[in-house]
């Protein structure tokens, strides 16, 4: 493969350089019907799961077909999306904040051909390429992080846990039978690139073993002060260590009981790996929301302290998620989000109806706010 220059001259990096131009402007990509009716929409309606119509004050209609997708996406797949957009939507499309794709058309008669086309496309392995759904009182696509595809600190995989979960919840992606929308999110370590801490159900990768110290190489590969300062709980301090061969080297000491397993030290210093087959696994959280609707936004709560990584389909994890979704579906009132339902029935009932075990791990002991989650009342249910 011969190197092909773009025009960039490494000897003169500033020559003809263009920088600070930002993203492309949004309105060059708007479909005509969007351009024309922007800011003048009258109302919308979900005609069936995954199909919406927005009606302008002008009477114009914009029909949207929403489809799910893996956020890890090849150019081959994107080119196929483009082909669909060209065929049905004058070459326009958009993505949602939850990794769904939306195909928009400007009249009702274009909807069925678009839907049929989308439904007909499958991957060689048998899964749908473009499943229609993800609207209203159902489950929409899972927002997630990189996992084993591309990250150095994950405690589990992201794409795989998401695929396993969405296969289980697929009927609710294409239905709107739940009491309200149910948002599932996934982050593969506690740093939460994906910010899953306000989701109805959150899947979180978690390490449980402090970093190993590769004493022989640490000082050669790392800036020790950076490794020390990277630790959010001050569990790492400089240390002199004598190797088996008698050499004394500069290294660090990890106070294991202070470690919260975040992996920040490993980011700064490759001689502090913490991934571990038995140590790593899944935490499940539940009951968060970001919408201000009816109740205020709220954080998710830890409801399962640990489940092992069970590749490739994490059956214990999907089983626990299914239990929560079913109990919520059976017990909550119309419009009630999972966290509002749990608050109403009480978390002691939540564990009962979801058939989840409670353990001491689920009682907060992290800093001052822990107190706020203990029960300061004689009101509780037996």
């Amino acid at each position: 493969m011969a190197f092909i220059s773009s025009g960039y001259n490494p000897a003169k990096p500033m020559e003809n350089r263009i920088s600070d131009i930002g993203p492309r402007k949004y309105d060059e990509f708007y479909p005509e019907v969007i351009k024309k009716n922007k800011g003048k929409w009258s109302h919308h309606e979900i005609l069936e799961p995954g199909v919406l119509v927005h009606v302008g004050e002008s009477g114009d209609e914009c029909y949207t077909v929403r489809v799910g997708g893996a956020r890890l996406m090849s150019t081959t797949h994107i080119n196929e999306i483009c082909e669909i957009a060209d065929k049905h939507c004058d070459g326009h499309l958009r993505f949602t904040t939850r990794n769904n794709i939306e195909f928009m058309v400007d009249s009702k008669d274009k909807v069925e051909p678009l839907k049929n086309d989308l439904k007909s496309r499958k991957f060689a392995g048998g899964s749908f390429k473009f499943p229609i759904g993800g609207t209203g009182a159902g489950v929409t696509n899972i927002v997630h992080t990189q996992g084993w595809i591309h990250c150095h600190t994950p405690a589990t995989d992201a794409s795989g846990t998401v695929k396993a979960t969405m296969d289980e919840l697929f009927s609710d992606f294409q239905d709107q039978r739940l009491p309200a929308q149910l948002r599932v999110s996934m982050a593969c370590c506690l740093n939460m690139c994906g910010a899953v801490h306000c989701s109805d159900i959150a899947i979180l990768g978690y390490h449980r073993k402090p970093p190993m110290v590769d004493h022989e190489y640490l000082d050669k590969l790392c800036e020790i002060p950076l490794a020390v300062s990277a630790c959010p709980t001050a569990a790492i301090k400089p240390a002199k260590v004598t190797l088996a061969n008698g050499t004394e080297v500069k290294s660090v000491d990890v106070k294991s009981e202070r470690c919260m397993f975040c992996g920040n030290c490993y980011t700064m210093c490759p001689s502090l790996p913490l991934a571990d087959t038995e140590g790593d696994g899944i935490v499940l959280m539940a009951g968060g929301k970001v919408s201000n609707r009816i109740s205020q936004p709220k954080f998710s709560k830890v409801v399962v302290a640990f489940l092992p990584n069970e590749m490739p389909r994490w059956p214990s994890m999907t089983d626990a998620i299914n239990k929560m979704v079913n109990a919520y579906s059976n017990g909550a009132n119309k419009y009630e989000r999972l966290g509002d339902w749990a608050d109403r029935i009480g978390w002691e009932k939540f564990f009962e109806v979801c058939e989840l075990d409670f353990s001491h791990h689920l009682i907060d002991d992290f800093r001052q706010q822990a107190y706020l989650s203990w029960r300061q009342s004689s009101q509780f249910k037996f």
Binding site: H43, R94, H152, M192
Partner: protein, 442 residues
Amino acid sequence: MAKHETPFLDQLESGPWPSFVSDLKQQAEVRAKNEAGVEFQIPVDCVDDLLGVVELSYKHGRTHWKHGGIVGVFGYGGGVIGRYCDQPKLFPGVEHFHTMRVAQPCGKYYTSDYLRSLTKLWDMRGSGLTNMHGATGDIIFLGTTTPQLEEVFWELTHNLNQDLGGSGSNLRTPADCLGSSRCEYACYDSNALCHFLTNEYQDELHRPAFPYKFKFKFDACPNGCVASIARSDMSFIGTWKDDIKIDQAEVAKYIAQDPAYPANAGAFRGSKDWGPFDIKKEVINLCPTNCMWMEGDELKIDNSNCTRCMHCINTMPRALRIGDVRGCSVLVGAKAPILDGAQMGSLLVPFIEVNPDDDYAAITDLIELIWDWWMEEGKNRERLGELIMRQGFQKLLEVTNIKAVPQHVQHPRTNPYIFWKEDEVDGGWERDVDEYRKHHLR
């Protein structure tokens, strides 16, 4: 014939949900065949090797990617994240496999022409794998080698009029909901504001000068589709000051079960039958402030007690509409749990005008006051929310010249330990102890 056996990953091809494994395999095959005659600038089998390394992770239950390493494009401190495989001999195609963040267009609208220009570039100079999109909002180009970074950047800026996004201790690529482009709930044009601020602060986005990351997110209404209240240092949530607009004739149609007026715009059209729509049960009784009632056939709202939660509007969107005096609320300090626990955004400005005609001066003034304080006082890796916790919400009000109002709190403080300042107390703190002792013997 696949380069590596992938018995674990193969099990993720079945089931209805789109399989990333199938997509990776299809991409590996397209690269191997190369019917388009692409002059690949990184190993042609990098996707095969990615499948191989992920399979190994499924076998081991551990990642095989190493920490970052410093790579980037000249003059920028962000936008590229270095990534190296820890088994380069087994998987040479992904030995160097860096990520590039490409700034997404606001509202995430695209044309096929534009997307194809991206895929063409990325097929030639990268793995052809992407995230559409990353958690912050960027288009993610997943996997290329160091020599290609400048080449990709050159092509993006020269041929596609397109810049990179943010990473590291800088302004991260701002993100928005689709706003008024296709939503009747939008209280402001989130696409326009997000685009303006992204361009206004390109220097802050590309050249890390902050204590840590900083995120803007724009939700054009309190429904919060982009989750700004949970995950942005400054969250701009659309709101209005006047009355919800009621169309009584349309209210009557909801009450009469007109099929064109389904509850919640059809969000419950599914396999469960919730029974006929009941305005009392589903709207009036669920209003969090109990500020709605029926007078005969008329729906009444005591707007002075409305907190604009959106429930009634969401439930009857053809009958109820947002008010006309529109702007946004600004909430600050949200972040994920690292380190002191999660923080939700706290309300700083109940209402701020969103005025494109003066280049959003009210908003940029506020942003810059906050940045001045945070850059001066923030410790390394301290998010804005943590600085507010450390120095106090009162300090934030002081540096932003904002007067305290009851809207700032859920309830007033439950302890009386007020740190009075000297200038707040008549006569100050300098006193004459001898004068005091004339009246109070030792």
